[in-house]
């Protein structure tokens, strides 16, 4: 099965597939997709409204009276900038809090994308806040901005904390920009991001104690308190409590490590209450293997098989459901995971992401994967509902040995009635295409393999440049955004 298969000779298809004509089926995923779109609208609505509300708080306090002098205008603008900036920071924290409602609606990677987009505006607003206030207060007292800052630091309680916070915010954004560019290890970036919590916490006291907006007894104070406490609670619940609870609930233990290619291996785990993870095939967890040399690193990997719940008969002492991930050595410590000993306990955070049935909107489904990105498709293929003949799977690799879990996928396609194509061969030298050179030269396009793609859910998983090329083709086939499900895999 290593040769290139043309669209006329799919690797496998079932007899039930194209031959039997049926009346157009009810689109059973439409309601779910509509609900998800509505939730996305609600989230966008709230996200846009919250900075507006922050500005309105200030207006309601008679803030607009400040615009009667240069100094007053600078101070007024500074206060508004600070309010909106802090609101954006809270939004960023909420987006990174892995709240199930957000994750089920826009997915983990989209949430982080928005989180990143907000970083710079938030920083600029906070910087503007500091400068405008220093200028405005200074001008009102006949001081230059620097002397004013010094006087604020010395004379006004909590202001020194606010100035420290500003320095921390600048440090966090600058270092994370550098860290992204230089491709520092995830852990380095993570530690820097922990400073954000220090920056936010040191920023909070002066908001309530300096400036008249959030005085005790005002409704604005309650609103702002609720916003800050709500964000803090969301972080504690979903970033601290839920992972701990999940780790204790499932008690995962490595049962064995199986090498399936020179640099690819599957890690199989057993655990309790695995039935609660049903349907999370294709979604990912952060895995932390609790062994010397491993425990400090949490790796994001997708499940490469639908979780297997324990049957009533095999509840023994070890007894128990099964989970599996399939890992490629991408450096950064994932190579050492091959040497994880059976019996190692595993702490988890998850499942996260929308690479699952929860994202479906159509009856038809097309899955396109390359490299190690094939593995989440494997578990999605196992679990997501479709009628025989309504699913197409495209696997891309240099050679057949790169179609990881290819045998399992073929067996699943046979059992469930999915059409499977193996697209193997070298990539095209000149053409910017995700297809093998030979297929592209023969004139095949995406619709040659998946003719009904415009009316299908399309799941794409693979290296970023390759996936970008796939997504371009998918979009040019007229697939709307709500049907396109893409998971970044190289992070």
């Amino acid at each position: 099965m290593t040769s290139l298969l043309t669209p006329d000779s799919p690797a496998e298809s079932t007899p039930a597939a194209a031959s039997r004509k049926r009346p157009p089926a009810v689109e059973r995923f439409r309601p779910q997709a509509r609900r998800r779109l509505a939730r996305a609208d609600v989230l966008a609505f709230l996200a846009w409204l919250s900075p507006v509300a922050a500005a309105a708080l200030w207006l309601a306090d008679g803030g607009a009276r400040g615009f009667n002098s240069w100094a007053g205008t600078a101070t007024a603008l500074g206060i508004v900038a600070g309010l909106i900036g802090m609101d954006l920071v809270l939004l960023m924290l909420l987006l990174a809090a892995r709240i199930p409602f957000i994750d089920n609606t826009i997915g983990h990677d989209r949430a982080l994308e928005v989180h990143k987009k907000l970083g710079k505006p938030a920083l600029y607003l906070l910087l503007a806040h500091g400068l405008l206030i220093a200028f405005g207060y200074g001008a009102a007292e006949g001081l230059d901005p620097v002397s004013e800052l010094v006087s604020l630091w010395v004379n006004v309680p909590d202001m020194w904390l606010a100035i420290v916070s500003m320095v921390l915010f600048v440090a966090v954004v600058v270092t994370s920009l550098v860290a992204v560019r230089r491709r520092f290890a995830y852990e380095f970036w993570y530690v820097i991001h922990l400073l954000t919590y220090a920056a936010v916490l040191t920023a909070i006291p002066h908001q309530f104690s300096v400036g008249g907006l959030f005085v005790e007894g005002s409704w604005q104070r309650w609103y702002w308190l609720a916003l800050c406490m709500g964000t803090g609670a969301a972080l504690l619940i979903h970033r601290v409590y839920q992972p701990l609870a999940a780790s204790f609930r499932h008690q995962l233990t490595v049962s064995r490590v199986v090498r399936i290619a020179p640099d690819v291996f599957s890690i199989e785990m057993t655990g309790l209450n695995v039935e609660r993870l049903a349907g999370s095939g294709g979604r990912f967890f952060f895995w932390r293997f609790l062994a010397p040399g491993h425990w400090w690193q949490a790796h994001p990997f997708s499940l490469s098989a639908e979780p297997v719940a324990a049957t009533p008969t095999d509840r023994g002492p070890t007894g128990t459901g099964k989970l599996r991930i399939t890992v490629r050595n991408l450096g950064d410590g994932s190579a050492r995971l091959a040497h994880v000993k059976p019996g190692t306990k595993v702490a988890i955070e998850g499942p996260y992401g929308l690479f699952s049935t929860a994202a479906r909107s159509r009856n038809n489904v097309v899955m396109i994967g390359a490299g190690i990105g094939i593995t989440p498709l494997r578990s999605l293929l196992e679990s997501t509902p479709f009628e025989p003949g309504h699913a197409t799977v495209l696997l891309r690799g240099h050679g057949g040995s790169e179609l990881f879990l290819g045998q399992e996928i073929m067996a699943l396609c046979q059992a469930r009635g999915a059409t499977l194509y193996h697209l193997t061969g070298p990539r095209s030298a000149g053409l910017h295409t995700w297809l093998p050179q030979s297929a592209a030269e023969a004139g095949f396009t995406l619709s040659s393999y998946a003719p009904g793609i415009a009316e299908a859910d399309v799941y794409v998983c693979g290296p970023t440049p390759w996936a970008a090329s796939v997504i371009r083709d998918v979009q040019s086939e007229g697939v709307p955004a709500e049907q396109l499900h893409y998971e970044r895999f190289d992070w």
Partner: protein, 144 residues
């Protein structure tokens, strides 16, 4: 984001801002109403030795939502020589902090300008307004 949601967001944003602005304007109105209704200056003349007379005048006590503000002004030889705060906003710890920062700054501004027409202090608008209103009442009482 769909058009309907975008429209809803735009409308809601406009509504919230308008509501905020309206209630803000309302606060500004009630603020001035309070200060004017409560102005009643009392004078207590004091003669000192020598050719110069120093007189002190108490300003109106002005209610703000952070507490009462009242100042006393000393006028000697037709000049404002001292402004003392008899009462400052101290409704809460924070207001007291603001007052303790704003009062010395206002005093030096007033002594320099020799009038109540000076800049308010950033971050202490309410206290400043009340301070200057009380001061103006005292100056009016002194026919300054």
């Amino acid at each position: 984001m769909r058009i309907r949601a975008a429209l809803a967001t735009a409308l809601a944003s406009a509504g919230i801002l308008l509501a905020g602005w309206q209630s803000g304007a309302h606060i500004a109105d009630t603020g001035t109403a309070t200060t004017t209704s409560l102005s009643s200056a009392t004078t207590s003349d004091k003669s000192s030795t020598g050719s110069t007379t120093a007189a002190t005048y108490d300003g109106a006590s002005v209610q703000t939502r952070f507490g009462t503000v009242q100042v006393q002004v000393t006028i000697q030889d037709g000049k404002i020589t001292e402004v003392t705060a008899l009462q400052l906003t101290d409704a809460e710890r924070k207001s007291a902090q603001i007052s303790s920062r704003a009062a010395p700054a206002l005093r030096s501004e007033v002594l320099q300008a020799q009038s109540a027409s000076v800049q308010t202090i950033g971050g202490a608008t309410v206290t400043s307004d009340a301070y200057l209103t009380s001061l103006q009442a005292a100056l009016d009482a002194a026919n300054f």
